[in-house]
Point group: C2
Chain length 291, copies 2
């Protein structure tokens, strides 16, 4: 298989490991990996999803045709200076897209033309390479946000990789991605964390959670996500998120005023509008992307 | 079965119908029902879950040992004046408990000693007697909020009914119930409705909903609930809810300030505290009440 594409995965956790496992199933890839945690590498090798493990990022970068950064966003500044000589295509899997663009422009500007920022919109509450799932991305959207300077063949290469993982690849600008995700993911997570924190702060945690039918149960599930990852997401998508929080608080204040004034008609209108939007959503939603 | 308890159900929808179906399975009850919609009554009779249907509330009240009000809260003022001569025990299934207490004190104060306000904390997105489920309340909590003047035998009778439906019966004061439910159910629903409404207001509904991974999907599910029912809940639990909204907005503003100041440490602490509360919740949660 000397002609197969050599994919280098930086960070062999759940996401990196699932990419490795999926590419292994797809067949036509040679899979290389680096992780600061050598036990993850050894595990990945023993699982048969990695062909070659690299104790250093430099050796990985010297052999890979494509590098996929699957580490937390805060590690970018320590990773990118090692990639200044890298000749292949670079992509990542972060939930916010501006940080990878900024980090590349600062640390390895030569790479901008071969940078294809990416975001697989698939979640799991599990962690670690041992939870790697070759089907994690199947029927899920992957958003690619190429820059104006990104070369067409670099983009095509990353599209091919995600398609061989069964993902549905879509494309949008960096800004638009970060706005849409602030709306659909970052703000909801922030609200869930805030609600759980407010309620737990009332003291008798046990009671508050005990009567958590419907409503609160769904919220609190969201707040089970990794705090450090979400802190980074909130901080790196700060501007979009702060604007949204402001809009949300204004809307909540409006609803609050309707309740205070007992304006049943306007309140019904508002709730009905939300339900209509949700019903519309359900009607357009492909069954396959439910997860 | 001349000695079996005669239970009168006012409002034969999903909840009333499920109570009827469950009591029918339990065996020792004679089930009577009234509904303004005669087709619901005919359907209930043909399903075999109602022994006798009553075209008027007055005849139902004249034969029932126990009356269960399972109609929307806004119908109470038109129902209670018919119950001034009722000699049995009165209960209801509303999500807010102060309204039934107020309505009884205003319209049928004689009944206060035989009033046992109740709230089965079980939800379903279905509607109507045809969706009646004899196991809807099984392993779910039912909160009873007897008044100081409520007689012990009246309380015992309602406890017996819910226990024969398989529910776990707990007791608390009216005020405490309305506070706890504002926290665990009413505020989360209001947040979900508000979020869906804010996002849908951005225009391209399709796109906002299309990338709704994890976070937003759970929220929008909540906003699929019946707008009129929730309008009534928000309005009847107005005081507790308005206080909570204020607390929530203050917390959201604090978090917003931490993000703005990029205070990673304080932000992590806040998110970790929420996750810890959620994890604690998961650890104490009996598997059986997951639904």
């Amino acid at each position: 298989m000397a002609d197969s594409m050599r994919v280098g995965i930086v960070g062999l956790g759940l996401i990196g490991g699932s990419i490795a496992a999926g590419l292994r199933s797809a067949g036509q890839y040679e899979i290389h990996a680096h992780d600061l945690d050598s036990s993850a590498l050894v595990l990945g090798e023993s699982m048969g999803i990695v062909d070659r493990i690299h104790p250093t990022l430099d050796t990985l970068a010297s052999v890979a045709d494509v590098l996929i950064l699957a580490t937390p966003v805060r590690t970018l500044p320590s990773i990118l200076p090692h990639l200044t000589q890298f000749e292949g295509v670079l992509t990542d899997v972060g939930s916010v897209k501006q940080p990878i663009v900024d980090a590349v422009l600062v640390n390895a500007p030569r790479l901008a033309q071969r940078l294809v920022p990416g975001h697989p919109v698939a979640g799991s509450e599990r962690h670690g390479v041992d939870a790697a799932d070759p089907n994690l991305f199947r029927h899920h959207k992957v958003i690619l946000t190429p820059l104006d300077v990104t070369q067409a063949d670099a983009l095509a290469r990353i599209q091919t990789i995600w398609m061989s993982l069964g993902a549905e690849v879509v494309q949008m600008s960096v800004d638009h991605h970060d706005d849409v995700l602030a709306q659909t993911s970052h703000l909801p997570h922030l609200l869930a964390y805030t609600l759980v924190d407010v309620l737990a702060g009332f003291g008798d945690e046990r009671e508050v959670f005990e009567y958590a039918a419907g409503g609160f149960r769904d919220f609190s599930r969201i707040a089970a996500s990794d705090p450090e990852m979400w802190r980074d997401i909130f901080l790196t998508n700060k501007d979009a998120l702060l604007r949204l929080i402001e809009t949300f608080i204004a809307a909540l204040n409006q609803t609050s005023k309707l309740i205070e004034a007992e304006d049943a008609e306007a309140l019904t209108e508002r709730l009905t509008r939300a339900k209509a939007a949700r019903d519309y959503f359900t009607s357009i939603q492909p069954k396959s992307s439910e997860s």
